[in-house]
């Protein structure tokens, strides 16, 4: 038993086993064998309390301080009361939907509003079932990491473009970075 464990360890060190053999049990054998969730001798562990709880506490505290500092300095926006007769120009969706708005600007509505977002959404949910590669090492996952990085880059770029570079009529606009006076107002 001990010998087996150490051979697993050696194999992993040598880079031969890339998933953790002891935690990964999939398929039909799951029901017939008792599941080994963690095995002690494989990896060094520490008691959760206080080691992990302390880190959680510090992270929470840091976030609290950060939130308070921001909230004391910067007020949440509140514009004029809603007026359905006056359309602001540009009218923008909340920032996290600006990617969608950007797509609608560039592609026909059915593509931008249905096909692309649908593909992203369904693809996202299915990620673990589409990616059959058992390895977790970056050098074995070039395709997965490449595709995801394309998504990340586009998502971030669209939000920045929508927020900063889209002006009246949602057309391209340099005024916010180059400081064109008078055109920045949102009504």
């Amino acid at each position: 038993m001990a010998q087996e464990a150490s051979s697993v360890r050696n194999a992993r060190r040598a880079g031969m086993i890339t998933t953790r053999g002891h935690t990964v049990r999939t398929g039909p054998e799951l029901s017939s064998t008792p599941m080994v969730v963690r095995s002690r001798e494989e990896e060094e562990t520490v008691v959760t309390f206080p080691h992990l709880v302390w880190k959680e506490f510090l992270a929470g505290l840091a976030m609290m301080v950060f939130l308070l500092a921001v909230s004391v300095q910067i007020n949440a926006p509140l514009l004029q009361p809603a007026n359905t007769a006056v359309t602001p120009n540009p009218a923008k969706a909340p920032w996290y939907f600006l990617g969608l708005q950007e797509l609608l600007e560039r592609f026909p509505p059915v593509m931008a509003g249905v096909i692309f977002p649908g593909m992203v959404l369904v693809g996202m949910v299915l990620v673990p079932y589409l990616d059959r590669n058992p390895s977790r090492r970056p050098e074995d996952r070039k395709l997965a990491i490449g595709l995801f990085t394309v998504y990340v880059t586009m998502a971030v770029a669209f939000v920045i473009i929508g927020t900063v570079f889209r002006g009246p009529n949602f057309s391209w606009y340099w005024g916010q970075v180059l400081g064109h006076p008078g055109l920045n107002s949102k009504v």
Binding site: E43, V53, P88
Partner: protein, 243 residues
Amino acid sequence: MSSGSYEQNPIKAFASEVWGSVFRHGLPTTDKVAARTALTNFFLHIHPVRVKKSAIRVSYTLCLGGLSFFLFIALTISGLFLMFYYIPSVGQAYQSIKDIQYVATFGLVMRNIHRWAAHAMVITVWLHMARVFYQGAYKPPRQFNWVIGTALLLITLLLSFTGYLLPWDQLAVWAITVGTNLGKYGPIVGPVSRYIMLGGRNVGQSALTRFYVLHVIALPLIGFVLMVIHFWRVRKDGFTGGL
């Protein structure tokens, strides 16, 4: 805890008895006490008693899942406070936000916390998803927790979106008008889903009522249940740990 010297002082003895009945174990002096403390404390028992050293390195999780949950709690508390004052009616919503800002004690800072925490949560949840992806932490046996995660991302976005309308100012109404217009391009379902979302063709009182109810009851409740399942599975599947 029950040291002999307390017995001379009845108040101290009573205090010690009460304390001891709430917290069954003291601060962790040995691993054994630490394990019992974690096991018998409701808030701590969500964790396993022992964790892999590599799994709790800050450089591994970047604390992003934990911070998302922390922000959810901060939003619940500050949101509760805002609910004491906010009136979900087209005629009064805007004024009630003004009251929160200028009349209610600490109202301004509470509203700010709620607003900025909401933005921050969208960011931390999204980054958490990215870290899980880059580390391949969704691979067996954690596939389904990724699926629950995507539902949580959706809930987070919807919470933020429904909250956006509530101040009933120009920013709110037009952002929601544009946002719901984005959804109307689907064949058949598109316009219907927009109509269902708004309870009409325009952003008006029925939209405000729907968004309010979704924002303060339905979505937080669904989100909370999903989070509990998410955490349960993180524990049961075993934490992935460092590469």
